[in-house]
Structure formats: C-alpha cells, structure tokens
C-alpha cells in the first residue's frame, strides 16, 4: 500500500532524452496506466521506478521516501515483464518462492503464500512444472503469481499482455482488473495499447517523446483530450482530423472546409470567437458522424463511400471528402455501398478544435 510520486523526472541516454520533466502523483491503491507509442519513454519511466534504470535528474518517492539511490530489492516493489522472465531452470513453485526464499521467510509461510497466490490465479496444478511446459497464458499467470506472493507496496507491469493472443488478452485484462480489486495495491501498468489503457486504468497517463501529454480518467481523456495527439491516440478507430476555417457570418460562427460549411453550436461559438487565428484543426470521432437521410444545408457533408467494414454490432465506413479520408460509424442496417454517395451529419456538440500552431485543444 503506497503512494508513488515522481518529481521532475529526467532520463537521458547520451543525447537522447527518453523522459523529460515527468511529474506524476499516484495515490495509494490506484491503477495507473502509462500509455503511448513505442519510444515515448513509458517503459523507461517504469524502469526508473523499479530501480533498474538510473535517474538523470529528479526524484521518485515511494510512501514519501526518496528511493532514487535504493537498489531494486529494497524498494518493496514487484514487476511483471513482457516476456514473463520466468526462471526456466526452476519449477513454477520455485519461481514463485524465489523472492520469499531470498528474503528468508519461514518455509511454512512461503508454502502458504504460494498456495494462496496459486489459488487466486488458478495455477494450483502447475506448481511442479517447469516454465517450458506451460502455455503463454499460464506463464503469464505464474509471472503475476511471482509478483503477488511478495505482497509488495507497488506492482509494476511492463506490457504484460502483449505476448498473448487476442482472446487471452481480453480475458487476462479482466482478471488483472479483478486482481487489483482484490489486492488493493498500487499498480503502475505500461502498455502501448490504448484499449488496454482505457479498460484497465483508474487513471491514464498519455506520453509522447518523453513528455507527459495528459493525465486523467479514461473517459475524460476520450471526451476532453488536451491536444491532438491524445485525441488521436485514444479511441479506436481514431478520431478524424481536418483543417478548416472559422467564419463569422449571419450572426453565427461557421466551420468552412473542403467544400462544406457547418454551423457551430452557439455555446462553442462563444468560446471559439476569442481565438485569434482563423484556421484550426478540428477532430470528430467516427461515432459522431451518423448518416443523414438527405442533404441539410450547413449541417451535413457529402461523402463518397470507399470501403465497408462490418463488425456485426456496427459498420465502419471508410469515406472520402475531396482528398481527405474519414471513418464513420454506421448502424448494421446501413444501406451504404462502396462507390456511392452518402450524407453524414456531424454531431457538432462533440467536435473538438485544436490550434494549428501547437495542436493544443481550444475548448
């Protein structure tokens, strides 16, 4: 049970600045997910918390105690690695007991704890096996089991599900979340998969190029992204982006782009009016592009359907407006066909606007 604080954390590898001025406060018992594309510094941050990577500058506190110089073994943390890192020459039991044995726990307690963890993770029958006799999912469980027997203050997960197949990944996702509910321990979880981040985290930290982009609850990030990167990274399929011009006419504010003109709702217009530049990037999610029965002036856009992606519960339409490709979500009952025209009616209340200069959100 611990709170973890990172303060102005920096990590340089020679000229490369892997993590820059990273600040984060993780409350006790929270499930925090660090997410971002590869090379964004998320794993480096996690490894600094673990003590596997030296800190260039800044501080890390676990339970209000600076741990910068503390070796990994004295930080009271446990880590689950992407490739599981099970010791191949030891049985599952020995793997799970290794940390406790090193810490000189009495034999009976080790046995008790391993048994407990094995029960939670449903690996009771595997204890005498060697890792190579296990499937990917079982290895994953053993790796998690090895972490939980120690009852550490903080769990660190480094892309633990990326080596599993899609179905197993969904299953383990739920199990890890249940495990967190049960153990009530602080978890820092690194992934590049935004779906994993959204479904698992209490709080998500989006990173890019070593910089923290936004911190927030999953839906907050989804509905109120701080910049274009977060908007595009969170959500699948990704948000559609276009450039457009803000025009004030007839007492209203309009968005003019690629041959169509949309009226911006009054409340948004009021806030956007103060923005000095006329050109903006606007983003609209696929579900905010429903089909319209017919053309309505200043409310619909005319598109050309290119590809249909039926998923059963919904259909994604890959459409084109001029040279720009968009993805729209349609009902499974849609009549849309490739190479036919279609009208979409953007839900303008949900459109996000971003500055062209620095891509920050304007609203």
């Amino acid at each position: 049970m611990a709170k973890v604080v990172m303060e102005k954390l920096n990590k340089h590898f020679g000229e490369v600045k892997a993590v820059r001025d990273f600040d984060l406060e993780i409350p006790d018992k929270e499930f925090v997910v660090l997410v971002g594309p590869s090379g964004c510094g998320k794993t480096t941050t996690l490894r600094m918390v673990a003590g596997l990577e030296d800190i260039t500058s800044g501080n890390i506190y676990i339970d209000d105690k600076i741990v910068n110089q503390l070796p990994p073994k004295d930080r009271d943390i446990a880590m689950v690695f992407q490739n599981y890192a099970l010791y191949p020459h030891m049985t599952v039991y020995q793997n799970m007991a290794f940390g406790l044995t090193l810490r000189k726990f009495p034999k009976a307690e080790i046995k008790q704890r391993v048994k407990e963890a094995a029960e939670i993770l449903n690996i009771g029958e595997l204890l005498e096996r060697k890792p190579k006799a296990l499937s990917g999912g079982q290895r994953q469980r053993v790796a998690v089991g090895r972490a939980i027997v120690r009852k550490p203050k903080v769990f660190l997960f480094d892309e633990p599900l990326s080596n599993l197949d899609a179905k197993l990944r969904v299953q383990m996702r739920v199990e890890l979340k249940k495990l967190h509910d049960r153990l009530q321990t602080t978890i820092i979880y690194v992934t590049h998969d935004q779906v994993e981040a959204m479904t698992m985290g209490d709080c998500i930290v989006v990173m890019k190029d070593g910089l923290k982009q936004q911190v927030g609850a999953p839906l907050e990030l989804y509905f109120r992204p701080a910049n274009k990167f977060v908007a595009g990274f969170i959500g699948s399929p990704a948000m559609n982006f276009m450039e457009g011009e803000l025009l004030s006419e007839q007492g209203g504010l309009f968005l003019q782009t690629m041959g169509f003109k949309l009226k911006i709702p009054a409340d948004k217009a009021a806030k956007l009016k103060s923005y000095p530049e006329k050109r903006v990037i606007f983003g609209i999610r696929p579900e905010d592009l429903p089909e319209a029965p017919a053309s309505i002036p200043n409310e619909t856009i005319e598109v050309m359907v290119e590809v249909l992606e039926p998923l059963g519960s919904e259909v994604y339409l890959d459409v084109k407006v001029g040279e720009t490709s968009l993805i729209a979500r349609a009902e499974p009952t849609t009549k849309a066909k490739p190479h036919f025209k279609l009208y979409l009616q953007p839900v303008l209340e949900n459109v996000r606007f971003f500055s062209i200069r620095d891509e920050r959100a304007l609203l």
Binding site: A50, G51, P71, P72, I77, F81, N83, A85, Y87, P88
Partner: protein, 278 residues
C-alpha cells in the same frame, strides 16, 4: 525407389559418406597399424588395409618401453587444471563484459580477442622468458599457466555470446526479487548458461589435451612430457619411426577426448547454437 529417395541419396548421404570416410580413415589406419607386426607393416605384398596376423606387441611395447602412462597422467593433469582455471576466469570476465557494462567494457572485450589472434609460434618466445623468470621451466605448472593464455580469450568469447542469449529481464526480475548481483550470477545466470559453460569446458579441455607447441618447448624432462609430445619425441628416433607403438599411442590418446565429447554431445550442440529454451 522413388525419385525423392535417389535425390536424397545423391544430395545428402553420398557427400556425408565421403566426408565420414575422409574423417575416419586415419582412425582406421591407426587402429590396424596398432595390431600389426613390423614384418607385416613393411611387407608391400600384403593388402595394407587389413590385419593379417594380429599382435599385441605394440601395446606391450608402448606401456613397457615408454612412459605412456605417465604422459597420459600429465596430459590429464594439465588439461583439467588449465580448463578449470580458464573457465573460472572466463565466466567472470564474460559476464562482466556482457552484462555489467562498465566503462570500457567493449574495448576490453575486443582486446581480449586480439590476444587470441597472436599465433603461439610467435608468442612462445616471450612466454618462455616469463616462464624462466617464474622459475617454472620444465614443470607441468608452466603449461597449466600458459594454456589459459589462449583458452581464456576463446572461452570468454564463447560465453559472452551465450550470456547474450539469456534475457536480461530474468536477471532484473531476480534483482527485484531480492537477489544481489553475485547471487543473480550463481543462481540464475550460471545454471542457465550451463550448456555454454560445458561447451567452453569441452573446448578448453580438448585444446589443452591436443596442445603441442608449448608442451614441446617448455618441457624437456621425459617424465614430465604430455602424451602428444612424448609419443613423437620418444617413438620417433632420428629417422626411425616405431609405427606400431606410435599409432597405438595416438589411438589411446584420442580416447579420452572422444569420451568427453560423446558424454556431453547434447549440451555441447545446445551450447554452440546458443539455444536457450524457456
């Protein structure tokens, strides 16, 4: 007889048999010569590829007239000690260079390799001076000390490659679990590198066992010679070759190496391919 079978014969088995024949014929020759009398050996009218009147005279002569037993013991003594010495040094060196990544670990790794590239035919001259000054000239200890000069670079490089194949996360995980660097080395790295260590050991043993030049130059007392040197120096007198005992000795001297290989062949192959099965 399908076409596939014939193709397999020509492409696979035929070259294999030619190679095997080429490789094993010397052993066959040693074997038959060991059981031939001199009279038979020098009789050109007889078919040289078969034994006509087998005799044990050569074996008796080898053990009675020469110090073959002693030479074998010497070779064992030197090979085993040199192997242990080299392996222990190489294990630590390879691990440090590959994993501790201290400043200058790269150049040190390369310079160790350069040491290996200098041929013994040049190196034995300066080494002789060192051996003299250490006052171990004409002693088995000189060989125990000299052999690691080529064994350590060799084993270090072999082990470095092997350590590289052990996922770093395993060590990191052990460190988080509470192990010190030394414990990680003993409890995680060494057990996992065992196939690599074994192959390095076999190589070191074989190289020391077969070594000729240093053994010839640094040892002159007959009782201290190793088998390869002893056989050549004592059984070739001027231009007189005692072929029978010589071949018997060569055959018997290759037995220990063959045994070592056959015992560890599986580990040895795994070690060479660096295959670490998780």
């Amino acid at each position: 007889m399908s076409e596939k079978f014939i193709e397999r014969m020509i492409k696979f088995y035929l070259p294999l048999f030619i190679f095997l024949f080429f490789l094993l014929f010397p052993f066959y020759w040693m074997f038959i010569t060991a059981f031939k009398s001199d009279a038979e050996l020098y009789n050109l009218k007889l078919n040289p590829f078969f034994i006509h009147e087998p005799t044990f005279k050569n074996i008796l002569m080898l053990f009675k007239a020469t110090l073959f037993n002693r030479w074998m013991f010497n070779t064992f003594f030197v090979a085993i000690l040199a192997t242990i010495l080299s392996l222990s040094a190489s294990l630590l060196a390879a691990y440090a260079i590959q994993r501790v990544r201290f400043r200058g670990s790269g150049p040190i790794g390369i310079s160790i390799f350069f040491g290996y590239l200098v041929p013994p035919t040049i190196l034995f001259i300066p080494l002789a001076t060192i051996i003299f000054q250490l006052k171990i000239w004409d002693s088995l200890w000189s060989l125990v000390l000299i052999y690691p000069t080529f064994l350590i670079p060799f084993c270090t490089w072999l082990l470095m490659g092997y350590f590289k194949s052990i996922p770093k996360e395993m060590e990191e995980c052990a460190m988080i679990d509470g192990a010190s660097r030394l414990r990680v080395f003993w409890q995680i790295v060494v057990p996992l590198a065992l196939p690599g260590i074994l192959s390095a050991g076999i190589f070191a043993f074989t190289l020391s066992w077969n070594e000729y030049l240093y053994a010839l130059t640094f040892i002159s007392t007959t009782t201290l010679k190793t088998a390869p040197v002893g056989l050549i120096t004592e059984l070739v007198r001027g231009d007189v070759y005692h072929w029978g005992p010589l071949m018997t000795g060569a055959l018997l001297a290759s037995v220990p190496v063959a045994l070592v290989y056959s015992f560890f062949v599986e580990h040895y192959v795994a070690g060479m391919t660096g295959a670490l099965k998780e």
